[in-house]
Symmetry: C2
Subunit: 331 residues, 2 copies
């Protein structure tokens, strides 16, 4: 029994057979920063790609304390009870497993972690959002090839990572608490506009009344905002992740949303748009990185920035100067 | 009397003296796509830059039909009556003077156009938003050097141009009409989150009641959204540009906002951020342009795009392939 070094072909076969050990190893290769793993990682991804089209990808965000882990635990159970295989991934550039990211802290998902129909993987480590997002996005492919029906992708709703997650999912869920005032400070402007559904969590006990008021307020507010590209007007629901109430209605909405979007082709259109987004985004990042890391640019950038801030040159002129010296150096 | 070809020094002197003919000529040079004008344009801009710090820059957006021209006419009159010099510029990549952009259609601003304290300039022509935005942004510098106290920058609220305008102003005003339903379709998602003030226009005659309801609704909605970086919670007002009612209150809010932001330094911080934004944005655009125009990239891009859409390679792998061939060709 050769456990230590399966071949790439064996790994791919394992993933396609739904073997979680193979899936875990595959994701480890995809996440590796060791350049000798890159070739194998690419082979695995490209073997999985044609098999990975039928899942539902759901992004879940909300500020710390809103109850994301408890929600995923309850929602995950609901889905596995319905016979679905559920994978939980995360995008959290600041976290490392050792520092205890939300998903790393497995005590919070005690049930789901033991559920044979569920696969939980903490956020890949890394400081650059681009790198972390890329790894998560490629891990989705592997999970889909392994037969997971629903992929939940969690992110902390306080940085740039929601945009990344929004660009890799079919449906985006924002968790909130009633009593907007205190909690608003944490959430980034723009996140509300990304949501396909807003869920007011902790609607239990004495909070129920407040949660219902918050629901009405958000419904009213969302009505003043333009509908989404596909005509969807975001829904607002209350739920208690703790008591597992309200999760069924949430799944029904998502299920209907996906069915409708598959019927009118928006599902495929959006996935194609997302693929183009990641292609362009990667090109963009790499072109910029190469520019900002060039010796010529690094030696000039501070002076040019200073000149702009001191109103000596316009930002456009400063850009031209930097580009001229970059391109001259590269010829 | 040498009217046809003033030297650059004379032009700069004219602009600094507040001579509108010199200002007009200066802007024409800045807008020129003739590369032989570039040097002179840059000299003019850099001579004006140190003199251009004391204006208030206000962005004004709203879908067609919301009454932008009428609003600017009324608001401009109010400001000039208060002794302020007002310049009106525009960012509208789709318009050309001949096709009759909103500002090109001067019949809509009959009074303001004849007002000696006002300077009106239609949107520079051009198809690329980046080019049009750059020209407008550099024209602001010239207007400020010419002593204009308030610069109004108009844009049609249906495309990408609001983001560009938002990134060149101190205060962003969104014009809307009561009866959200019909009019919402036109406005882009995200524009509402940019607004520092929402003005419900056409609050006159039978519309007054509706406008007041809309005001309350928006106030309630905005309260659910996170405050801006400087703690500002966007205001909602009604106005009738036609009857010139409500404009005074709008100006008071802007005036107070600017005074507060100058006191707490946010005014300068934001302008510096905007300068950095335009530096980075310009670098970004030019790096991308060079990439996408390269022969190697153009010959590969279609195939790579197709491979991604057909799930043969991941977008990240496709990006690497394109970059490899681009960088090899340039070495």
């Amino acid at each position: 029994l050769r456990k230590s070094s399966p071949t790439v072909t064996e790994l791919v076969q394992g993933i396609l057979n739904g073997d979680t050990a193979a899936l875990g190893r595959g994701i480890t290769l995809v996440e590796s920063t060791n350049s000798s793993h890159l070739e194998n990682a690419n082979t695995i991804i490209e073997s999985c790609l044609p098999k990975s089209k039928n899942s539902i990808r759901i992004g879940i965000t909300g500020v710390p304390g809103v109850g994301k882990s408890t929600f995923i635990e309850a929602f995950g159970k609901l889905l596995t009870d319905k016979g679905k295989k559920v994978a939980v991934l995360a995008v959290d550039p600041s976290s490392t497993i050792s520092k205890g990211s939300i998903l790393g802290d497995k005590t919070r998902m005690q049930e789901l972690i033991r559920n044979p129909k569920a696969f939980i993987r903490p956020s890949p480590s890394g400081k650059s959002l681009g790198g972390v997002a890329r790894k998560t996005r490629e891990s989705i492919i592997l999970c889909e090839a392994a037969g997971y029906d629903v992929i939940l992708i969690e992110t902390v709703g306080v940085g740039q990572s929601e945009t990344a997650v929004h660009s890799m999912v079919d449906f985006f869920l924002l968790l909130k608490l009633a009593g907007a005032g205190d909690e608003l400070q944490g959430i980034k402007r723009g996140v509300i506009e990304m949501a396909d559904i807003i869920v007011i969590n902790k609607a239990d006990g004495e909070n129920i009344k407040q949660a219902k008021i918050a629901k009405t307020e958000f419904e009213r507010a969302l009505h003043l905002y333009p509908p989404k590209e596909n005509g969807w007007i975001p829904k607002v629901l209350t739920c208690s992740a703790l008591n597992a109430t309200g999760t069924d209605e949430i799944w029904e909405i998502i299920d209907t949303y996906i069915a409708e979007n598959k019927k009118n082709d928006y599902f495929t259109i959006k996935r194609n748009q997302q693929n183009m987004y990641w292609l362009e985004q990667t090109l963009d990042d790499r072109l910029k990185n190469q520019f900002y890391q060039s010796k010529k640019v690094r030696s000039l950038l501070d002076t040019m920035t200073q000149n702009v801030l001191e109103h000596k040159v316009s930002p456009f002129r400063a850009a031209e100067e930097l580009l001229k010296s970059y391109w001259n150096a590269n010829q």
